[in-house]
Every structure is written in structure tokens, then in C-alpha cells.
């Protein structure tokens, strides 16, 4: 039998082990599987590939994708191309971290436990919240979990979600809500911002939470303070889904009245990777701590007073509470959270502010160039690094023509916002060179 590099037992090992079990062959180990459906033929899969063949095949598949460094990409919409310092991969590439599991035995898992504790601190500090969990799957599921938290805390079962929240995130929220028979009401928008009169009309005594995004899906900055005070006046919680990079400059959601702050954490040192794995950031107030789902690390002492870290408050979790748990989640995105920690520690307060500032200034420079080229800025409000342009009825032709030249000129809107059928959502980050913006503006002018 052909040996496999991940399976050390030789034929001789197997024979000796079987003989110690008084068995004549491995088939006897599977005798408890009823013969009626024991698989009697090989699975229909391609034959094993050597490492060389495998990598050749994968490089061929990867080579049929255009990656963002070989293109000029103005794509954002929930996933952002930011610079990732080399230290991030140097740390998450250490197999003591990536080949470990959830730290069930704290004495030999202090590394990941302390890393989670530091992550919780970094996130709480960035979002201006009191407590953070160890992360959930992604920004969209964090939003769903936050809605469930709010409903169980307020004992109300209706949430209001701004139509300016990422449509993908709203779709995931709808699936979470469907499972729990929670009513989700969308709040209309005016000028790409949540409409305050519509919010006021929908707020009622059964509203568990108001959910907004900051900056919103279109890059526009909502009036979080005002929305918070209106939600709170009706006894509803405010859930804010924030863009972590923007918080290098923008006021923290916790300082604006958020009761639960969530985020898609990808932009913090995680590669685009075609949509995942990312991490769902989740932070809240002390009052809501025991409703928070997922793993949480806490500081404690050993028998001799040494500082150490453990998973804590596990009475909330599925392995103890089973069907009464605050969530079914049993993992966190530990390695992605580690990447986020390394990124934030590497950037520090000054680096994060500088990244945020470059995003802001470059986006405004690009918007000025594109409008000068003939596109129209959809609204003039405050935006961070993303904005909506109206290209007119020729939008699809222009976007396709630019894509053919290796310029991904933003996300065409319309599928989720029929009224924006002539518009694109454009993102500009610190990795976008001035030359690429200028070139795109020239091409845009020619195509419009």
C-alpha cells in the first residue's frame, strides 16, 4: 500500500497493532457498520496528488484569478484592501497558535488566552465599550447575534434596521431573526442616510433595538448621537456596526451611545481572501455582559498568586446551558482576532490615526477627480473612505470597460437599491496611489 506523508503507521506497524488486538484485518474494525450500506467501491474522487502536482494545480487555479495588487480596485462594500504589515503573518504563521484548539487547558494555553485578553482590551478601547468577547464568525453574524442579545435583554421582539446597513449583513440578520420569530423592520433613507422621521414613526414600545452602520454602507456618517437618544427614549438599545479603520479618526461608538458595538474586523490585518475567514467584532456594556455570546477570556491568579488567564463566564455557553445558551456558537475566529491584535499593536494610536487620515483624504481627492471627470457625487454629506457616484444610464458599459482594463470601479448598486441603478459605490484606501486615481479619472472622462 502506498504510504502517505501525514500517516506514520507502516504496514508492519499496522500488522503488529492488529495482532495485539487479535484482529486479522482492518475491515474487522468496521464490522459494526451495517453491511447494507458499507461502501464497497472507492469514492469517485481524483487520485492523490503529490505536493508538486498539488501546488501546480492550485497555482493554475489561483492564476485564473486577478488579484487586487494586479488591478486597480475601488471595491469595498464590507471588505477592504488595506496594507498588512509583515509582522501579522509572522505571528499568525506560528504553529503554536494556529495548530492549537480552544484553550480548554489554561496551563498550557496561556499564549492564546493572553492574546485573547489583549484582543478584548484593544477592541474595547477602540470601540469605547466596556467589554468585548473573543470574536464571532464575521461582521454579519455579529449583527445577527447582537439583535438576539437585544431581544433577550429587553424582552421585546422587534428590531429596526436602517436601510443604510450593508444589505448582505441585513440578509444574515433576517435569517437569524427568522429562526427566532423576531420581526425586522427596515427604516427608510433620505440622501443615503437614515431618515430620522421614519425612525421616529417606527419606534415603539416593542422595539428591542435600532441597528445602524457607522459609517454606513454608502460611506456616509450617520448622526449616531441623535439616533441613540431617540432609541433610548423608547427603551430600545442602539446597535452600531462600525468600520474599525475609521475609528482611528471618528468618535468611538461607545462615546456616542451604542449599547452593543459590532464590526467586520477584516480590515484589521486580515487578507481579503475572497470573503473569508474574517472576524466578527462584538463589544458591549457591563450591563449586557451576561447576554454576550461566544468565548470570553478573563484574568485571574494561580495558587501562588501568579497572573494568568482562563476562559470565563461559561455559564452563558452551549456546552453548559445547551438549549438555553445565549448562542450556539462554540468557536471564535481566534487566529483572525490574533491578526487584528497584532495589527492594532503594530499601528498603535498614531499609526491607526494616520491610516484613517490617508483613507479620508485620498477618498476625498478621488471623489473630486471623478466628479471633475463628469461623474456626480450622489450626496454631499460627510463620508469617510467610501462614496456613491452616479454614472448615468451608461453605468454598466463604463464599469465593464474599466474592468476590462483592470480597473474595478466600485460596486454597481441597484440589486439591493433599485433607485441606485445608475450608481457605483467606490472605496479608496491608503494603498490606492494618486497615479491610479488620476489615470482612472482620465479613463472615466473618456468613457462618460
Amino acid at each position: 500500500m502506498k504510504p502517505f506523508s501525514y500517516i506514520p503507521n507502516t504496514e508492519q506497524d499496522r500488522a503488529q497493532m492488529l495482532s495485539s488486538l487479535k484482529l486479522s484485518g482492518v475491515a474487522e474494525l468496521f464490522a459494526d457498520i451495517p453491511a447494507s450500506f458499507r461502501l464497497d467501491q472507492p469514492m469517485n474522487l481524483p487520485p492523490a496528488a503529490s505536493e508538486w502536482e498539488l501546488m501546480k494545480e492550485l497555482k493554475e487555479l489561483a492564476g485564473r484569478n486577478v488579484h487586487v495588487e494586479d488591478a486597480v480596485s475601488f471595491l469595498g462594500a464590507g471588505a477592504y484592501h488595506h496594507f498588512i504589515p509583515s509582522v501579522v503573518d509572522a505571528v499568525i504563521g506560528r504553529s503554536e497558535f494556529y495548530s492549537a484548539y480552544t484553550p480548554y487547558q489554561p496551563e498550557i494555553s496561556q499564549g492564546i488566552l493572553q492574546a485573547i485578553f489583549e484582543y478584548q482590551t484593544l477592541i474595547a478601547n477602540l470601540l469605547g465599550m466596556e467589554v468585548s468577547n473573543a470574536s464571532v464568525y464575521d461582521g454579519a453574524t455579529a449583527l445577527g447575534e447582537a439583535a438576539l442579545m437585544a431581544c433577550s435583554h429587553t424582552r421585546r421582539n422587534r428590531v429596526l434596521v436602517a436601510r443604510t446597513v450593508n444589505p448582505d449583513h441585513r440578509a444574515v440578520l433576517a435569517t437569524y431573526a427568522a429562526g427566532q420569530s423576531i420581526a425586522v423592520t427596515e427604516i427608510a433613507m433620505t440622501a443615503l442616510q437614515l431618515s430620522l422621521p421614519d425612525l421616529e414613526r417606527e419606534l415603539s414600545d416593542d422595539t428591542a433595538a435600532v441597528i445602524i452602520q457607522y459609517p454606513n454602507f454608502f460611506g456616509t456618517i450617520e448622526d449616531v448621537r441623535e439616533i441613540a437618544s431617540r432609541a433610548h427614549a423608547r427603551g430600545a438599545l442602539l446597535i452600531v456596526s462600525a468600520y474599525p479603520i475609521a475609528l482611528g479618526l471618528l468618535e468611538a461608538p461607545g462615546s456616542l451611545g451604542a449599547d452593543i458595538a459590532v464590526a467586520e474586523g477584516q480590515s484589521l490585518g486580515n487578507s481579503l481572501s475572497f470573503g473569508g475567514p474574517y472576524l466578527g467584532v462584538m463589544a458591549t456594556t457591563s450591563a449586557l455582559l451576561r447576554r454576550l455570546p461566544g468565548r470570553i477570556a478573563g484574568q485571574t491568579k494561580d495558587r501562588d498568586g501568579r497572573r494568568g488567564f482562563v476562559l470565563t463566564l461559561q455559564a452563558r455557553e452551549q456546552h453548559i446551558r445547551r438549549e438555553k445558551a445565549s448562542s450556539n456558537i462554540c468557536s471564535n475566529q481566534a487566529l483572525n482576532a490574533l491578526a487584528a491584535s497584532v495589527y492594532l499593536s503594530c499601528m498603535g494610536p498614531n499609526g491607526l490615526r494616520e491610516v484613517a487620515r490617508q483613507n479620508l483624504v485620498k477618498a476625498h481627492y478621488a471623489a473630486a477627480r471623478f466628479t471633475a471627470a463628469g461623474a456626480e457625487l450622489a450626496v454631499a454629506g460627510s463620508y469617510f473612505n467610501e462614496f456613491v457616484l452616479r454614472l448615468g444610464p451608461a453605468r454598466d458599459r463604463i464599469v465593464s470597460a474599466l474592468a476590462a482594463e483592470g480597473v474595478y470601479f466600485g460596486l454597481p448598486l441597484g440589486r439591493h437599491y433599485p433607485e441606485l441603478g445608475e450608481h457605483v459605490l467606490v472605496a479608496v484606501t491608503e494603498v490606492m496611489a494618486k497615479g491610479a486615481i488620476d489615470h482612472t479619472a482620465e479613463r472615466l472622462e473618456a468613457l462618460l
Binding site: I33, Y98, Y104, I108, L249, R322
Partner: protein, 489 residues
């Protein structure tokens, strides 16, 4: 490792104002102050309190932390139920290819054909491995897969105008099963196991009815035992109009030998981070694809990856009966690349070898340990087995003490106190990626600890002795939670 004499500093305690770990290009467009572009009251009043460290400080900090952590690459990790097998390095290299790591999920379809083809092939492979008709790669973890599968079951019954509210779960199931059922809006009915550790058929017969939505079955069970009455179980549930959900957390044990689809199951999830060797990452990211039979195909989450007659691939969002979206974008792509690489490396024969050696290794260890530990269910096991430490209670030694003593020998202990239906449980899963020498050395340590528990129990009760830190006060941690570092003024 030896005991730490001073506390390992936090990254915040290494911070010195003015130190810098980053390097950014100069702004190449005309500079404008932020308050010229944004309303003043939108700007942050104070910079976020983040550490200021040099790159050297940063790397030493995390390298030090990594040394305080045990991974599969550090040594044997027989954590039952978690399948801590080796994580191949070529898979890590594959996921980091720029054509995979640096593609944006909203790029035009023509620019990501390679990624879509990989996903399409992986869907096809997993459908073949499980014997199902279609697979969704979206769920981010096993528990997310359970919830996704249950939401599809709910949609299936609703579509047929049936109001079925109950999900039956055996008492040996993972806690995620009942929690996922609750999240999908079902109530859980727990049924007991019989004296052989199998589903009690009489209990099942009396539990099913016109309100039964599904049975969730982990097979092999968390006791490491194959459900011998699987044919009867399937018949009982289907006869009542319920669907069969297969928790494939333990699929490692049956690869190439049996397929949930052939056993009559309607839905199955797989944990790619268990059976398909993707790293556990210290707690994640994982991936929990879900396979279904044709009757549930309309309900799969959107999007699915589909192929056109001209051979191109696309994301199919137009599925009117879909349960909707369960995650951003298309699943944990980076994890899916690794699983694809694993399946291509092993091929059909290699995957079957995985099951054989995982099961052989477990039975070999069980036989060697049986004279020294109580074996609650003494029969041929699959990829893992459960021991009980109850015989040492007379000496004041608990299973927790045994686990802590194992740490002194440089191993990760087995899973303890799970499954819940075994007193003082110790659950051991060696996986196929361990050699006989490793198994023997670990068994020798377990036998030594069994002897110590009887002859010198204090050495076990006071363990661990060799780790950087002693047992931690978990009660104090929960009573007065300290969940972040607060800098002293």
C-alpha cells in the same frame, strides 16, 4: 518549561510613548486636515488607547506568547471530539497564494473563475464523500452548519404546510445540537442512550410523533461508537415524517467506509477543521459545509456556486425558496482552499486510510489502557473512546487531576467531563497522524498516572508541577470578571 517567576507582561505594559512599529508611505495627494472634510463633532476626542511598541518588542512579545501555547506541532494533542490531526504545511502555502489571498469578494465574475471552480469542485467532492446531492460551503463552523441545516429542515416542513416544532437529540450529543435547535426556533427532546451507548430505540419510538421535525444524530457518537441500529433509527424517524440530520463532527472515522447519504440521512454537516485537516487556529476559523438530499436542495443558503453549459462558473443568488444568507460572502474561503488541498493530496485511497488508521490507533490505545482505567462501553470503538476516572475517586483523585498531571509530561490532555452521560469522563482521540511510538509513550504516561493515583495521589492532586503556571482560580475569574486591561493612572 518551568514556572514563571514574574508575570508575563501584557503588550500594554511594554508600551513606551513615541515607539513605533509601523511604516506607512507619505500621503501622495494634497493634504487636508480631517476637520476640513468632516464635522468637528464626528472626530474622536482622544486617540484610542493602543500600545506603542517597536517591531522588535512586538515580535518578541508574540513569540514569547507562542512558547506558552501547545499546538499539534508542539506535541501529541489527543483532545477527544476535536480531531487534532496534523495541519499540512502545503495547505498553508496554498491559502497564501496571492491569487487566493488577495481577491476581493465583489470582483467581476470573470476575474475569479479559478476561485469559483475550486469551490465548485470542493462542493462536488464533499457531496461524493457524504453521499449527498448538493453541498453549501457557506457555514463558518460546525455549529453554524447545524443551524443552517435546521433552518432548511424548518423551511422544508413549512413549505409542506406542516407544523413540526421538535428536534430529538440523544443525551450524548454536543451542546451545540440543542443550542442550534433553539436558535432555529425548535424545542429539543433529549433521549437517553442504552447500556451499550447506543440510541435507545424504545425511547426514540416514544419520542417521535407528528410534531417531530428531525432527529440530530452524531455518528459515530461522542462515545466513539457507531450506531449499530442506524437502519431502524432512520426508519422510525422517517415513518413519523421527520427528517434525519447527521452531525458529521466525527466523519473522520468513516471516510470511504460509509456515507450519511446512503444511511438515509437528509442533511449532514462536516467540520473541515476536524476531518479535513484545516488548522483549529486556537479556536477558529473553521468551516462547516452542509450537504443535503435533493428534497432539500431548494432551501440551500444563497449563493451557491454553479456551472454554466459553457463551462464558466457563477454565484447563483436566484433561489426563491432559499433560507437566505447565513454568512457574509461565500464561506471561509481560505479554509476551503486548505480542505481542497487536503482532499487532492489524499485522494480516495488516502481518505480511506485516514479512517482506518484513526480507528486502529484508537482501538490500540483503548486495549492497552483497558486494564488500568474503567471502560464504560467496552467494544470496538471508532476514532475515539471514552474512559472513566471514577475508580480513582476512592483515592481522592478526580479526572481533572489526571488531566493536569498529563500536562507535566508535555502532552495535551484528553477532553474531560464530556460526554455528560459518563461519570468522570476522559475522551481520547489520537487521529491517524500519530505514530505507534507516540501512542505507546502516551499510554505509558497514562498507566503511570493511574498507578500514582492509587499509590501517591498527592502528586496527581497537586498537578501540574512543570507548567509555566499552576492551576488557575476559575471561580474568582467568573465571580469578579476582569475582561480587559485597564491602565493605571
Amino acid at each position: 518549561m518551568s514556572r514563571q517567576t514574574t508575570d508575563y507582561p501584557l503588550i500594554f505594559e511594554r508600551s513606551v510613548a513615541g515607539r513605533m512599529g509601523y511604516s506607512l508611505p507619505e500621503l501622495d495627494v494634497p493634504d487636508v486636515d480631517a476637520d476640513q472634510l468632516l464635522r468637528q463633532d464626528y472626530l474622536r476626542a482622544a486617540a484610542p488607547p493602543l500600545p506603542e511598541v517597536s517591531e522588535v518588542d512586538l515580535i518578541r512579545h508574540y513569540t514569547g506568547l507562542s512558547k506558552r501555547n501547545h499546538g499539534v506541532d508542539s506535541g501529541f494533542y489527543p483532545l477527544g471530539s476535536c480531531t487534532m490531526k496534523y495541519n499540512p504545511k502545503r495547505n498553508e502555502a496554498a491559502a497564501r497564494l496571492p491569487g487566493f489571498a488577495l481577491i476581493h469578494p465583489c470582483q467581476p465574475e470573470q476575474s475569479v473563475q479559478g476561485a469559483l471552480e475550486l469551490l465548485y469542485r470542493l462542493q462536488t467532492y464533499l457531496a461524493e464523500i457524504t453521499g449527498m446531492d448538493a453541498v453549501s460551503l457557506q457555514p463558518a463552523a460546525g455549529a453554524a452548519g447545524e443551524w443552517t441545516g435546521l433552518m432548511m429542515i424548518r423551511a422544508y416542513h413549512e413549505q409542506r404546510g406542516e407544523h413540526r416544532t421538535k428536534v430529538i437529540v440523544p443525551d450524548s450529543a454536543h451542546g451545540t445540537n440543542p443550542a442550534s435547535a433553539a436558535m432555529a426556533g425548535f424545542t429539543t427532546v433529549t433521549i437517553r442512550s442504552d447500556e451499550r451507548g447506543a440510541v435507545d430505540l424504545d425511547a426514540l419510538r416514544s419520542a417521535v410523533g407528528s410534531d417531530t421535525a428531525a432527529l440530530m444524530l452524531t455518528n459515530p457518537s461522542t462515545l466513539g461508537l457507531f450506531e449499530e441500529n442506524i437502519v431502524e433509527i432512520a426508519a422510525i424517524v422517517h415513518a413519523a415524517g421527520g427528517l434525519l440530520y447527521y452531525d458529521g463532527a466525527n466523519a473522520n472515522a468513516i471516510l470511504g467506509y460509509a456515507r450519511p447519504g446512503d444511511m438515509g440521512f437528509d442533511v449532514v454537516h462536516l467540520n473541515l477543521h476536524k476531518t479535513f485537516a484545516t488548522p483549529h487556529g486556537g479556536g477558529g476559523p473553521g468551516a462547516g459545509p452542509v450537504g443535503v438530499k435533493a428534497s432539500l436542495l431548494p432551501y440551500l443558503p444563497v449563493p451557491t456556486v454553479a456551472k454554466r453549459p459553457d463551462g464558466t462558473f457563477y454565484l447563483d443568488e436566484q433561489r426563491p425558496h432559499s433560507i437566505g444568507k447565513v454568512k457574509s460572502f461565500y464561506g471561509n474561503f481560505g479554509i476551503l482552499v486548505r480542505a481542497y488541498a487536503y482532499i487532492r493530496t489524499m485522494g480516495p485511497d488516502g481518505l480511506k486510510r485516514v479512517a482506518e488508521d484513526a480507528v486502529l490507533n484508537a482501538n490500540y490505545m483503548l486495549r492497552r489502557l483497558a486494564p488500568h482505567y474503567h471502560v464504560p462501553f467496552d467494544r470496538i470503538c471508532k476514532h475515539e473512546f471514552v474512559l472513566s476516572g471514577k475508580s480513582f475517586k476512592a483515592h481522592g483523585v478526580k479526572t481533572l487531576d489526571i488531566a493536569k498531571r498529563i500536562l507535566d509530561f508535555g502532552y495535551h490532555p484528553p477532553t474531560i467531563y464530556f460526554p455528560l452521560n459518563v461519570e468522570e469522563a476522559l475522551m481520547i482521540e489520537p487521529t491517524e497522524s500519530e505514530s505507534r511510538e507516540t501512542l505507546d509513550a502516551f499510554v505509558d504516561v497514562m498507566i503511570r498516572i493511574a498507578r500514582e493515583a492509587q499509590e501517591t495521589p498527592d502528586i496527581v492532586k497537586l498537578a501540574p508541577h512543570e507548567t509555566v503556571i499552576d492551576r488557575l482560580d476559575e471561580t474568582a475569574a467568573a465571580r469578579n470578571p476582569i475582561l480587559r486591561h485597564i491602565a493605571e493612572q
